[in-house]
């Protein structure tokens, strides 16, 4: 029984190709069922995001498994010729496939390291496979483990700590000026997308009071409704600057809308309380000389980008810690897979039976006192016979089913029924962790 992954990602294929490969939800069930009907494929899951399309499968033989999954890819995406598709595919098996899934789930293989959506996408892929009944003991365990590894990576490394999008960077910087955003007022000048996104982030982080102004008063009314804020006339918004703790500016104007004097006046009105200004417009709408005004903190798009770059570097450093976690967890997973092999299970069961026979004989013989050698060997023989006959069926079934699709299920069952030591790793903590993950916050940075 082998685990394999075959697929392509942003690292191996351009977006023009990736977008052709997405299987729509309506066809997902059919695709999954077809996947497990290929020769040698026992279990299968299809993970698709905007950055990757991958098949995880449990197969009899690695070689035929690769071939089957490749066939699946080609036959699922008839719009693409095999010649165009195959050069972009990568594949791995065994520990490398497991490691790959763990790295993907932990967002170590993502375009933006540490982005939070991938976890939800892996979960979705797994649920789809569960719904269509194409997973089994191994994939179930593997994916649940991947989700718990991802959670561990998140809590034990700072891989997802700092902002890596412009709109979120604005929030992060605002929090360096204001400790509590809930009592702060945001003034949104213009209706640029990025500023709107930043405003939304600020609201999510507690800002309650939003003022909006755009040249088109109807538009600002609409936005005021969306953010539950107040629309103010564009002509007089400069007079309101003093009310704003945070100013987000993003208009299409080709000149400076806010000058040094405007901000100077605002700071004066605010009795020197700091004002935080974000200008994401290109060309800029806030005069750069505003930075010289005391207690005014101006950041333009380049400043935010620079901030993000530094955060990305930081994430890369944290990724090293995460890789170590992944490596460790792959080891745990391999240990579990090994425990599923039939021979060690039979040996363990045999040993356990022998131990029981020995213990019980010892007790019984000490109670019976002196026995003649014949009687003694008869008692011993009976004990062995009972145990052996009882176990015989289990041994036969195990050997017979070991190579079948459900083989690992029987092995696991035997391990549990007879409380064999190797079953230690099967306790339920991982599924509890996975359930917790369901509730984990995954706010979004980039769209799927």
């Amino acid at each position: 029984m082998n685990t394999v992954v075959v697929g392509l990602s942003h690292k191996t294929a351009p977006v023009e190709l990736r977008e052709l490969l997405v299987v729509p939800d309506s066809r997902l069930g059919e695709a999954l069922r077809r996947l497990v009907s290929y020769p040698g494929v026992k279990e299968g899951m299809l993970l698709q995001t905007c950055n990757r399309v991958e098949v995880y499968a449990v197969v009899d033989q690695v070689g035929t498994g690769y071939a089957s999954v490749q066939d699946f890819f080609v036959e699922t995406h008839l719009a693409l010729s095999a010649e165009r598709l195959l050069p972009h595919l990568y594949w791995s098996a065994g520990d490398r496939a497991i490691s790959h899934l763990f790295r993907v789930s932990s967002s170590l293989d993502s375009m933006v390291i540490g982005e939070p959506q991938i976890l939800g996408q892996v979960k979705d892929a797994f649920e789809a496979a569960l719904t269509h009944n194409t997973t089994g003991v191994i994939l179930n365990k593997l994916v649940k483990k991947a989700l718990s590894v991802a959670k561990r990576v998140r809590t034990e490394s700072r891989i997802a700590e700092n902002a890596v999008s412009v709109s979120y960077a604005a929030v992060e910087l605002a929090k360096k000026v204001f400790s509590d955003l809930s009592a702060k007022t945001v003034l949104l000048v213009g209706a640029g997308e990025m500023a709107k996104l930043a405003a939304q982030h600020l609201i999510n982080h507690g800002v309650r009071q939003v003022l909006i102004t755009t040249r088109d008063s109807r538009r600002s009314q609409i936005m005021a409704q969306r953010f539950q804020g107040t629309s103010i006339p564009f002509e007089s918004f400069r007079g309101e600057l003093g009310r704003a703790d945070i100013l987000l500016c993003s208009t299409g104007a080709s000149h400076y809308l806010i000058g040094q004097n405007d901000v100077q006046l605002a700071v004066h009105k605010r009795m020197n309380r700091p004002i935080f200004l974000i200008d994401v417009s290109v060309p800029r709408n806030i005069d750069p000389s505003v930075k010289d005004v005391d207690n005014a903190f101006l950041f333009d798009i380049d400043d935010l980008e620079m901030h993000i770059e530094q955060n990305k570097e930081e994430r890369k450093r944290e990724a090293e810690k995460a890789e170590a976690i992944v490596k460790e967890e792959v080891g745990v997973m391999l240990g579990w897979l090994k425990s599923l092999e039939v021979t060690p299970t039979i040996v363990a069961l045999r040993k356990r039976a022998d131990k029981i026979i020995e213990d019980e004989l010892h007790k019984a013989l000490s109670r019976l006192g002196d026995l003649s050698p014949e009687k003694r060997s008869a008692v011993e023989g009976m004990a062995s016979a009972i145990v052996n006959k009882l176990l015989h069926g289990s041994f036969v079934t195990l050997k017979e089913t070991a190579q079948s699709a459900n083989g690992s299920m029987y092995i696991e069952a035997v391990q549990r029924f007879y409380d064999l030591e190797s079953s230690q790793s099967l306790n339920g903590t991982d599924s509890v962790e996975a359930a917790e993950l369901d509730r984990a916050d995954h706010h979004t940075e980039t769209g799927k």
Binding site: L173, K176, V177, F178, S179, N272, K291, D294, D303, M306
Partner: protein, 269 residues
């Protein structure tokens, strides 16, 4: 025994400083936690030493420069421990611990138990204690001011480094600055009043306008103006930070002046 405890305290505070300086440069929670733990241990030692000194001797507490500085240092560390554990503001240690350490070292440099006033004036220790508590408030305001200016400069210059993330938000520092002065000021006021009362009992006049008393009154007016300025004309943020730094520097100079002149502490602040 007391001396031994003081030495332990010094060693522990110094270790705490090294650890928190390390925390300033490296992103390691272990460093900050161990700095806190070491400072806490130092604080315990310090408490024992102070208690032994006050209870063990027949003298009234806190009338020597040594005891006053030691008490000042002790209160600073107490403030740090409270703020660091309650607000999670470990970085405060990087700034407060050196100050507390210096105060304690200066206490050690002047170990002479020279009582500056006749011991039968039992009110003097009240005056010294209150004045020192006022000074603790100003010292914290000073530290908040320094941190404010650092963070302000980092944000203005758009340098986003380890320090930017460790220093608290600007408005938090400004509030810390304001609250410290608000707490320190009443203590200083009471300290000056009880000082005047002591002076009346010893010298027969409330205020003799000697340099120490004059400077104490000047300090009091300075901080009064800083507080009023904030409320009326918006002397907050950067301006408040500068003012409190200047104010505290002045307080330190007065201390030095008093000590170098060889006069007792308790006749001044």
């Amino acid at each position: 025994m007391t001396v031994l405890f003081f030495r332990f305290t010094l060693v522990l505070y110094f270790t705490g400083i090294l650890l928190s300086l390390g925390y300033l440069l490296r992103r390691s929670e272990i460093l900050s936690k161990s700095a806190l733990a070491v400072a806490g241990l130092g604080f315990l030692c310090h408490s024992f030493a102070l208690a032994a000194q006050i209870l063990g001797s027949d003298h009234v507490p806190l009338v020597s420069f040594h005891k006053a500085m030691s008490f000042f240092s002790w209160s600073l560390v107490l403030v740090f421990l409270v703020v660091a554990t309650r607000q999670g503001l470990h970085i405060l240690g990087t700034f407060i611990l050196p100050l507390a350490f210096l105060a304690l070292v200066s206490a050690a440099v002047f170990p002479v138990e020279r009582e500056s006033l006749h011991p039968f004036f039992q009110t003097v220790w009240v005056h010294v204690t209150l004045s020192m508590l006022g000074t603790v408030g100003f010292a914290v305001a000073f530290v908040a001011g320094i941190m404010y200016l650092m963070q302000e400069r980092l944000l203005k210059s758009k340098q986003f480094n380890v320090l930017t993330f460790k220093l608290p938000p600007l408005d938090f520092l400004d509030t810390l600055n304001q609250r410290s002065i608000l707490l320190g000021f009443p203590f200083l006021t009471l300290g000056i009043l009880t000082g005047a009362l002591s002076a009346q009992l010893t010298a027969g006049s409330y205020l003799s306008w000697n340099p120490e008393q004059t400077w104490a009154v000047v300090t009091w007016f300075f901080y009064l103006i800083v507080l009023l300025g904030r409320l009326t004309v918006g002397w907050r943020a950067k301006k408040a930070a500068y003012l409190t730094i200047v104010g505290f520097a002045g307080v330190v100079l007065i201390f030095l002046g008093v000590v170098l002149k060889g006069g007792g502490l308790s006749t001044s602040l």
